[in-house]
Amino acid sequence: MEIKDKVIEIIAEQAVLEPSDVTMDSTLDELGIDSLGLVESIFAIEEAFDISVPFNANAPQESDFDISSVASIVAGIEKLVAEQKA
């Protein structure tokens, strides 16, 4: 499974939606994922890809990880997987 598909599956599960309802330009807010849901999604992503995501819930904008849309999350995960598996 592609990274993108797995990330969408995780986000969809968190949002209680079908993966087909999650588009790349969806924001977490639109999907109804709150801060606790975000932290849980990041945990699931870390477990799925065996990576560590640099995310601090206190300072999302300062974390080296862009959560502004599904696309930015997927891009961030792809980068982390490439770096941490290298």
Binding site: L36, V39, N56, A57, N58
Partner: protein, 403 residues
């Protein structure tokens, strides 16, 4: 209703091994936060905390006692010894039969749990020490205080996460206030700076890797602490009759529940607890000179708390002082309100307001006088102590200068 005063105080925390050392550190704006010295710290992402250092349990307790006392119980007993010795009270006869101890605590014997889980899961042992249960239970500390000081009245432990100590002290206050007993021992303790304890907090991603900076725009999370704070709450006439030294008056309290979210704070819940404490103590908002903030250093708490204070106090919010001593001793979770009450006593009795240290950048969402970085001399007549817990359970205490 009876008036309630504080006639004894004791503590051990990252700032000091007793009240005098702790208040000195608060006056000097010293930080007690340092590199954690615990097993497997290299596997933690969070490696700092307000850990009690230079502490040797073997120097304070004998072998039999240590078999029964988790670290949170040890801290509690040391603080209780200091508080009760200072009060000059001896519990026997009728006084012993009526007096009790109510303590706040969240995690119980986390170190004991951690060590014993290691032994059965990691090391594969099939046998644990026979005292694991009496050592880790949340009420162990209250029970040992009752045993050591012969307190035979109402004793129990209150567990409301970060508000545990404030809820506990409110209960003890209410008992003395209502005439149930002339004396109660109250406060709380916590010790969860062990691998499992810190790892659990890491999961929530609200911890700072580099320091606790409450109300500062560049804050990035909380830092955990450990220790205990214990007080003697005594009925005023009882205290006067024996010529006891009085440190402050406990004037009232209020509790509220957000009924909203398991971790996100609510301005409304916090405001209701603050306003309720003023009402219970029959204090005008304009009389409040100092608030010891919950001030965790998380993005969410500090702005919500600031908004709640602005709501309750209106224009007076800009004239009162509010500081978070968590910047120095860390967040003691279930014990935090107890150690923070010391800052209220210092403000009322000594006229010195503890600072919020590590304050670097103003945050427009926390635009209050947070007593940045340096303690301040001021005559304070009324002080509040805020505690807003995970789970949306809030407890605010109101104290008055005793004159």
């Amino acid at each position: 209703m009876k008036r309630v005063v504080i006639t004894g105080a004791g503590t051990i925390n990252a700032l000091g091994a007793n009240v005098a050392e702790t208040l000195e550190a608060m006056r000097e704006g010293r930080s007690g936060i340092s590199e954690l010295d615990i097993r497997d710290v290299d596997r933690l992402a969070i490696k700092i905390g307000g850990q009690v250092k230079e502490y040797e349990p073997e120097a304070r307790f004998n072998r039999q006692e240590l078999a029964l006392y988790d670290r949170f119980t040890q801290f509690t007993l040391l603080a209780a010894r200091e508080a009760i010795a200072q009060s000059g009270l001896k519990f026997d006869g009728e006084l012993a039969a009526r007096s009790g101890v109510v303590l706040g605590n969240s995690g119980g014997g986390m170190t004991t749990l951690d060590e014993n889980y290691r032994s059965v899961y990691e090391e594969g042992k099939n046998r644990v020490h026979p005292f694991v249960v009496p050592k880790l239970m949340n009420n162990a500390a209250a029970s040992h205080v009752s045993m050591e000081f012969n307190l035979k009245g109402p004793s129990f432990t209150v567990s409301t996460a970060c508000a545990s100590s404030n809820h506990a002290m409110a209960q003890a206050f209410q008992m003395v206030h209502g005439g149930l007993t002339p004396v109660m021992i109250a406060g709380g303790s916590e010790s969860m700076l062990c691998f499992g304890g810190v790892k659990a907090w890491e999961g929530l991603r609200v911890m700072s890797k580099d320091g606790c900076r409450p109300f500062s725009a560049n804050r990035n999370g909380m830092v955990q602490g450990e220790g205990a704070g214990i007080f003697v709450f005594e009925e005023l006439e009882h205290a006067k009759a024996r010529g006891a030294e009085i440190h402050a008056e406990v004037a009232g309290f209020a509790m509220s529940s957000d009924a909203a979210d398991i971790v996100m704070p609510s301005k409304n819940g916090a405001s209701r607890a603050i306003a309720g404490a003023l009402q219970d103590a029959r204090i005008n908002a304009t009389e409040v000179g100092y608030i010891n903030a919950h001030g965790t250093g998380t993005a969410a708490n500090d702005k919500t708390e600031s908004a709640a204070v602005a709501d309750v106090f209106g224009a007076h919010a800009d004239r009162l002082m509010i500081s978070s001593t968590k910047s120095m001793h860390g967040h003691l979770i279930g014990g935090t309100g107890a150690v923070e009450l010391l800052a209220c006593i210092m403000a009322l009795r000594d006229g010195i307001v503890a600072p919020t240290i590590n304050y670097e950048e103003p945050d427009p969402e926390c635009a209050l006088d947070v007593v940045p970085n340096e303690a301040r001399e001021a005559k304070v007549d009324v002080a509040l102590s805020n505690a807003f817990a995970f789970g949306g359970l809030n407890a605010v205490l109101a104290l008055k200068r005793f004159a």
